[in-house]
């Protein structure tokens, strides 16, 4: 234990140096743990906002379809699914429900407040198949009634029966859609849903922006997707068919990649810390060369000298990791909520969406990583100390 004792005393003798090296480890551990937690909570948060529609195909016009130039962004605006293609999609989809819709926007005026809102235009009969209502009823066809998204209704204080103006025309809010979160087909929370009949009466018959196919049984999705592809895209690619499961997979893959990226930034900062430990240890070995020579000449084995220096970096790593762990478990927990609030504008309680086990998991991972990198950083200087020739070391000034 004399070598552990010597390690502790040497760290104490160079208090400032030891503290700075420890601060490096603390920062690294906090970075890994809190960025990991932020990543995980971001995943959890976005995951919670995404409505899991696993039974849906979304058919959108192929971007290059209108002019054949995929690099012209204006093409995305003009691209539409034609009525003829809709017929083909219906044919391919068989008994599954096919819901064509137009994405539009218009000026919404509620009392003294006004602004552009997104409008989902769809056949009146299909609305109940896509949306649940939290209040009111679905408008019948040709009616000038609209459905307001849940959050829009909340912001503007709309209720079934409220009168609003859409594009200068007075309409009545018939129903309020239940909050739904983001999904691949429609995101109605801040939108208006209007009937196709009412819309085309004002704007004329139009082609569709997208077509939603509800397959019901998720296992049938692949078959329907292939059938539509063969029907519509026979000669050239006219539509893109997105599978909700694929989209969700892509979503989660992206989130995971983001988490790993964040974690990677943390890991880099811990590597920087380990370089500072390496530096401190090399200085320590150089300063104590004479001492090492003396120890070796009066009977300290190489392994004992090695251990003495490894103890030093181990102690720096352990102290740094413990403090870093405590700091990150507490700060990371609250930071994650703040970040969530910052990104989403929703007030989120501390640690929302991430289980305590995740916080503990990332903290433990960061601590183990902190101790590990510290010891690894100490290996080379310790090895160098152990390999010193006692005669030369004794002579070293």
């Amino acid at each position: 234990m004399i070598f552990l004792d010597l390690a502790v005393r040497n760290l104490r003798r160079h208090g400032v140096r030891s503290i700075l090296a420890t601060v490096g480890v603390i920062i690294g551990v906090v970075a890994i743990a809190s960025l990991g937690i932020v990543g995980a909570s971001f995943s959890a948060l976005v995951g919670g906002m995404v409505s899991d529609v696993s039974d849906t195909l979304l058919v959108t016009p192929h971007i290059a379809a209108s002019s054949g130039n995929p690099f012209d962004p204006r093409d995305t605006l003009t691209a539409q699914v034609s009525r003829r293609d809709l017929g083909l999609i219906e044919k391919a989809a068989g008994e599954h429900r096919v819901i064509p819709m137009i994405l539009a926007s218009d000026w919404l005026q509620v009392r003294d407040k006004g602004g552009y809102v997104t409008m989902y235009v769809m056949p009146a009969a299909e609305i109940p198949f896509l949306l649940e209502l939290e209040a009111g009823a679905c408008p019948p066809g040709r009616s000038s009634g609209v459905i307001a998204g849940s959050l829009l209704a909340g912001d503007l204080d709309l209720r079934p029966g409220s009168r609003v103006e859409v594009g200068g025309e007075g309409v009545r809010v018939m129903g309020i859609a239940a909050e739904r979160g983001m999904a691949i087909e429609i995101n109605p929370d801040y939108a208006l849903i209007v009937t196709e009949d009412w819309y085309t009466k004002r704007h004329g018959t139009q082609e569709y922006s997208q077509v939603v196919v509800k397959v019901g049984d998720p296992s049938g999705i692949e078959g329907v997707k292939t059938a539509i592809d063969q029907q519509v895209n026979r000669r050239s690619v006219v539509v893109d068919i997105l599978d909700s499961r694929e989209i969700l997979d892509l979503y989660y893959t992206t989130l995971d990649a983001t988490s790993i990226l964040l974690l990677g930034i943390g890991v880099v900062s811990l590597f920087v810390a380990s370089v500072s430990i390496l530096n401190v240890m090399i200085i320590s070995v150089t300063e104590r060369t004479g001492e090492i020579g003396l120890m070796r000449s009066i009977g300290a084995r190489r392994s004992e000298v090695l251990c003495m220096f490894l103890y030093e970096s181990l102690i720096l790593g352990i102290i740094g990791s413990i403090i870093g762990g405590i700091v990150s478990a507490s700060i990371g927990y609250y930071v994650s909520a703040t970040v969530a609030e910052f990104f989403t504008d929703f007030a989120v309680p501390a640690g929302a969406g991430i289980p305590t086990s995740v916080v503990i998991g990332y903290t433990a991972f960061a601590m183990v990583f902190g101790v590990g990198t510290s010891v690894i950083a100490g290996l080379y200087p310790a090895w160098r100390a152990a390999r010193l020739n006692p005669i030369e070391a004794l002579r070293y000034e």
Binding site: I2, R9, E291, I298, G299
Partner: protein, 224 residues
């Protein structure tokens, strides 16, 4: 076994290969050191005195030739075995005292005792040895920086004696001390020799060499 030499050098050479040409530090040296001897090694700078002392102390191994310590050949031993011999059989005293600055006087003396696993009552033994070399109990817990040169060298001698070695090797032990303190240190070493300890001293100083009962003179790596 009592007539067996403590140290036996047989045709020992040490050559340091350098880019400018090999340096012969020891040239076919043969010698014996019997138990209880007090030997001074003298010679000009670069004559191989320190190399000889390092060989005696198992800090270095010869390029050719054989060295026996208490009948065992040490010239071909592994580093760990040599380390164990240094720990158990050899005490070193250096010109620069070489105390560990992080440790107090008594801890410095304890250090070699702690290296020997399983040894009980280290603190008591360290205290005894310190007292024997004339360090008062009030100085036991002083760090080396708080002691005078003479006191530091006494602590270093106590450290060298702590494990009760067979051989005490001193490299210019009075080189950094004033003559009065040097005399006291030499009397301490002479007293250890009278108690039966084998002492080898490397020195430039004829007054120091006068304490020895035999003087080995080295010139260009050879005994003359």
């Amino acid at each position: 076994m009592s007539d067996e030499p403590l140290l036996l050098f047989e045709d020992v050479s040490k050559i340091y290969p350098l880019p400018a040409g090999d340096v012969v530090a020891l040239d076919r040296v043969s010698l014996t050191v019997d138990p209880g001897e007090f030997i001074a090694v003298m010679g000009p700078s670069g004559s191989g005195k320190s190399t000889l002392l390092n060989m005696m102390g198992c800090l270095d191994i010869p390029t050719s030739g054989k060295i026996y310590l208490s009948g065992r050949e040490v010239s071909s031993m592994s580093d760990d075995d040599l380390t164990r011999i240094r720990r158990d059989q050899i005490g070193f005293v250096f010109q620069q005292f070489n105390l560990i600055p992080l440790l107090s006087a008594i801890e410095n003396v304890e250090f070699p005792l702690l290296l020997t696993a399983g040894r009980a009552e280290n603190r008591r033994r360290a205290g005894e040895v310190l007292a024997a070399v004339g360090i008062g109990a009030s100085h036991f817990f002083h760090r080396p920086g708080e002691l005078s040169g003479g006191e530091q060298q006494r602590v270093a001698i106590a450290r060298a004696l702590a494990n009760d070695p067979d051989l005490l090797l001193c490299d210019e032990p009075t080189g950094n001390l004033d003559s009065k303190t040097g005399t006291l240190i030499m009397e301490l070493l002479a007293a250890e020799n009278r108690r039966g300890k084998t002492v080898v001293i490397v020195t430039h100083d004829p007054e120091v060499a006068a304490y020895a009962r035999r003087t080995i003179r080295l010139v260009d790596g050879r005994i003359v």
